[in-house]
């Protein structure tokens, strides 16, 4: 009986997520948010089906009722998020919220499969994070002084990661976290947002050469602190976001090429002088030659990715636990093994759909500060997805960053949720910009019409005379 459910559900789960993904992109063809309603409803239904089928399999495989209760709690959370958001922010973008909930639900499924305790913990963190983040769009909208805090952003960000470098605890060779009252924080996650705000406020008005140099120096300090903490993944994200944002702020291609060349140069220097960089590059080029040590993680990840085939081995039918840190850095491989390559490709496409939605918002924002924020957060998000998926599949060297919204890790999920809701806030701002313009246009038309009618009336009066 379980076998029927596991085997058949594999195909249904893949079908549901494929249809969901299709809606993700079809929605872009419809310009008017109101007319997209049908797409969104179908997405919500498909999301429910994917989530439900996965937990059905989990319950059958484990025979544990606790999973059923846990599933109901998750369903309530996701449902409440979607409904509440719609009630509080009727002008909000529902695609982003849907995708966010879809990715969160995939995260819950795979974490429940990997470790029940960790999944519970993650669920608690997500619940709190969603409640906290829900108010963000309102504040983004009201707090106009956010633009003027340039140097405060710089100082706070550098201080936060600087403290970790000095006081933080070392986990597996990287100093990236510190604990306060039993809760472990990973500040480099939150600082990503501060960093984007810093760059946006520094560059939105003036982007002369000197301003760019000054910004570059401060951004350089961020990156160097992260390199010193051996958090290479975050350092790389900060660097790429910096280059991209300077490019968009100045509109100058030269900065993009300079940044690219500088990045390559820095990577070469890092390779020459840091043994841990060499080890990672070696493990990327030929992981099987050092399968016992440096290549162990990546080869186990490759085993996982290749073993599932298009439709996966089925939940609880593989051995994703053989990959060290699977629930944080290699969650993509676990998803691929048990839910299949087709599923994980859809998952990546959903991430791309979020990114395209972010960029759409950025393109349409008139206010340059907000435009830069939307752009910067979008690049931060998608580049992180690229690093973690690419690292786990041997497409690029491994850097050890999390898959946003899916990986286990409180700091990561809170940061990503905040990012998503900031962008929702920007979307609402942009809707109002648009609405204002429409109103203005209408008022003008009305004025013209009254003028015309006025003259006509005058003329008629004259005629009557």
């Amino acid at each position: 009986m379980e076998l029927y459910i596991t085997e058949l559900s594999k195909y249904f789960i893949t079908l549901f997520i494929a249809l969901y993904t299709l809606e993700c992109f079809l929605v872009f063809r419809i310009q008017d948010e109101e007319k997209r309603s049908g797409c969104y409803m179908r997405q919500n239904l498909l999301m429910f089906l994917v989530h439900f089928s996965c937990f059905l399999v989990i319950c059958f495989e484990t025979g544990n009722v606790e999973y059923l209760l846990f599933y109901i709690l998750q369903q309530i959370l996701l449902f409440a998020t979607i409904v509440l958001f719609r009630m509080i922010y009727p002008r909000g973008n529902r695609l982003i919220i849907n995708n966010m909930c879809m990715l969160l639900s995939i995260g819950f499924v795979i974490l429940s499969r990997l470790s029940f305790e960790k999944a519970i913990k993650q669920f608690f963190i997500v619940t709190v994070s969603v409640i906290v983040s829900m108010i963000i769009p309102y504040f983004i909208h009201k707090l106009r002084f956010l633009k003027s805090l340039t140097w405060i952003y710089a100082a706070v960000g550098i201080a936060a990661i600087g403290i970790v470098l000095i006081l933080g605890s070392t986990t597996y060779g990287s100093k990236i976290s510190y604990s306060v009252a039993g809760v472990t924080f990973q500040p480099s996650e939150f600082v990503k947002i501060i960093f984007v705000f810093f760059l946006a406020s520094a560059l939105y008005e003036s982007h002369g050469f000197l301003r760019v140099v000054l910004t570059a120096v401060l951004a350089g300090i961020y990156v160097l602190i992260l390199v010193a903490s051996r958090d290479l993944g975050s350092a790389l994200i900060f660097f790429v976001v910096f280059v991209m944002m300077v490019f968009i702020a100045t509109g100058n291609w030269l900065y993009l090429f300079l940044g690219g060349a500088g990045g390559c140069g820095a990577a070469m220097l890092a390779y020459r002088f840091f043994t841990h960089v060499q080890v990672r590059v070696q493990a990327w080029r030929d992981p099987f030659s050092c399968i016992d040590d440096a290549g162990y993680q990546i080869t186990q990840s490759l085993f996982a990715i290749s073993s599932g085939g298009w439709f996966g081995l089925g939940l609880f039918r593989g051995t994703p636990d053989s990959i060290p840190f699977v629930e944080a850095d290699f969650v993509f491989s676990a998803v691929t093994e048990e839910l299949g390559i087709a599923f994980s490709m859809c998952m990546i496409l959903i991430c791309i759909s979020c990114f395209i939605a972010f960029m759409n918002i950025s393109v349409r924002l008139k206010d340059k500060f907000y435009q830069l924020i939307a752009f910067g957060l979008g690049v931060t998000y998608i580049f992180q997805v690229f690093l973690t998926v690419g690292g786990g599949t041997k497409f690029i060297p491994m850097t050890g960053v999390t898959l946003p919204l899916i990986s286990y890790g409180g700091s990561s999920v809170l940061t990503t949720l905040v990012m998503f809701f900031i962008i929702e806030g920007l979307y609402i701002i942009r809707q109002e910009e648009g609405a204002k313009r429409v109103k203005k246009k209408k008022r003008k038309q009305r004025a013209e019409r009254t003028e015309y009618e006025g003259t006509r009336l005058e003329a008629e009066e004259e005629q009557q005379k």
Binding site: M1, L3, Y4, E7, M244, F247, I248, G251, F288, I291, Y296, T299, Q300, L302, F303, I305, S306, S307, G308, G309, W310, R317, G318, T319, S322, T336, I341, M345, I348, I352, F355, I356, M359, S362, V363, K366, Q371, F375, V379, I382, F383, F386, V389, G390, T393, K394, F395, K440
Partner: protein, 479 residues
């Protein structure tokens, strides 16, 4: 209110740049997704066979290892389960297929290794799997059907007798391997008991498959390659070649003797080849363009990877413009530094038999689930052209002459026409010690099978290897 023109222009430029970045990332992701799918699907088998991959154990715990069959349907290896669920891998033919089929414990070997992925997977019907679950029985693994022919394998093995050596029999037009014997062999049923002794004895080569991994001096069989190069360099005039053999060829301080110092007298190209005259071939070798010879060797897959899916050694021989005369006269007759595996020599012979085109050699014909539904069919696959049709035809003619009037006359006077080349490869300074080689095919007009034989330390190819070829051909053609 209109926006100033400059601002609007800037805004649209800005838009374009954001879109450019978007497309850039989307392209990057598409590349990554393509790469990931390709990597995962194409490497699936290889990765699951890796000993660090724990998923193999899941499958073995879930499925009973499948059966390996010969082409005629005989069982070559099967897993028997006793009442307590204990499993034993049984090899009904014991030593006979030791190297071809291999073993499945203590690391895997032979077809047990090459077909492992199929043997440990099960494509049983879902309903049957459910039924097995109910009974608490493992699912039946998929079965591997090989190209091996039990009769030919038996003839080859018996003919080698107690000698060390190797025999491979293939179908030149398809690449199917019909027999693969390597001696000394072992009984795979006893592998667990013997394992420690075999591993402790560093000198022992019992576990070495001499067909695919044994590197031997090719001896006079290499004259096929030398002849090919001479024909290539003198396509119109090679038949006008003349040489006067005195039993010895001298070049400066170096000299080459004919086998047993036989004096062959006046001879042309075909006779030089048929009689396997060392002096004449040393004479030919010295006149060859060495850079061109080097590229012909590469084309014939010396020092190159072979298109096979099982373990093998690469043949070794490099010739270039700097190769000295003293070496080239040795190489031309297959002595000196040249090293070749019987598999590789067989592939070159197959290409000659198949009009110059090499088919990929293969051992697994198809994989079926326990009900007999085909899961995967392996079809004959062309690898590449090793020589032109004219060159292949010329070599075929030369090899027929060997049987008709040369060193292979023990194969003449039969209902089929055989063609081939013998070799007696000297492997140490004591002149009487030589490996007996034969490589050839039949019928010469339309070759159906191709055999390559080496018998270690037996003596001349014509006396020891050719009779084995005859027995195999006879068995195949039912003579």
């Amino acid at each position: 209110m209109k926006e100033p023109d400059s601002k609007r222009k800037k805004n649209s430029k800005n838009k374009r740049q954001i879109l450019t970045v978007t497309y850039l990332f989307v392209a990057l992701f598409l590349a990554m997704m393509g790469y990931t799918c390709h990597y995962a699907i194409t490497n699936r088998q290889e990765l699951i066979n890796n000993s660090y991959n724990g998923r193999q154990e899941i499958l073995t715990a879930q499925n009973t290892r499948g059966t390996i069959y010969a082409a005629g349907g005989q069982v070559l290896a099967e897993t028997q389960t006793d009442e307590d669920g204990g499993e034993t891998r049984v090899y009904p033919y014991a030593n006979l297929f030791a190297h071809a089929v291999g073993y499945a414990s203590n690391g895997k070997y032979g077809i047990e290794a090459a077909g492992n992925y199929y043997l440990i997977n099960s494509n049983a019907k879902l309903a049957d799997k459910v039924a097995n679950d109910m009974e608490g029985v493992k699912y039946p693994g998929d079965n591997v059907f090989t190209t091996l022919d039990v009769d030919l394998q038996e003839v080859a093995s018996q003919s080698l007798g107690i000698y060390k050596g190797a025999v491979i029999v293939t179908e030149p037009s398809t690449g199917r391997i019909l027999a693969m014997v390597s001696k000394p062999d072992f009984d795979p049923n006893q592998i667990d008991e013997m394992w420690d002794d075999l591993i402790r004895d560093k000198e022992s080569t019992v576990l070495l498959n001499r067909v695919t991994q044994g590197l031997y001096p090719p001896g006079s069989t290499f004259k096929i390659v030398t002849a090919l190069e001479y024909i290539r360099e003198n396509p119109d005039t090679y038949n006008q070649y003349r040489y006067q053999c005195s039993g010895r060829f001298t070049h400066g301080e170096d000299s080459i003797n004919c086998y047993h110092k036989t004096v062959h007298g006046s001879e042309d190209f075909a006779k030089s080849f048929a009689k396997s005259c060392n002096s004449s071939f040393a004479n030919i070798g010295i006149g060859l363009d060495r850079a061109r010879f080097g590229s012909t060797l590469r084309q014939l897959l010396f020092n190159e990877e072979l298109p096979v899916t099982f373990a093998y050694n690469q043949s070794r021989l490099t010739i270039d413009g700097d190769t000295p005369d003293s070496e080239i006269i040795q190489v031309a007759i297959g002595q000196g530094v040249a090293q070749i595996t019987p598999l590789h020599l067989n592939m070159i012979t197959c290409a000659i038999a198949n009009n110059g085109m090499l088919m990929k050699p293969y051992l697994v014909d198809c994989v079926k689930n326990y009900e007999g539904n085909i899961i995967r069919q392996f079809n004959p696959d062309t690898y590449k052209r090793l020589m032109s049709e004219e060159e292949a035809a010329a070599l075929n003619g030369l090899m027929q002459e060997v049987v008709k009037s040369g060193t292979g006359t023990k194969l003449s006077g039969l209902p089929y026409t055989a063609a081939g080349k013998t070799g007696s490869a000297e492997y140490n300074s004591v002149k009487t010690d030589s490996h007996a080689w034969f490589t050839g095919f039949a019928p010469a007009e339309d070759p159906e099978i191709c055999v390559t034989i080496i018998i270690e330390g037996a003596g001349s190819g014509g006396d020891y290897a050719v009779p084995i070829a005859k027995r195999i051909f006879n068995a195949y053609f039912d003579v």
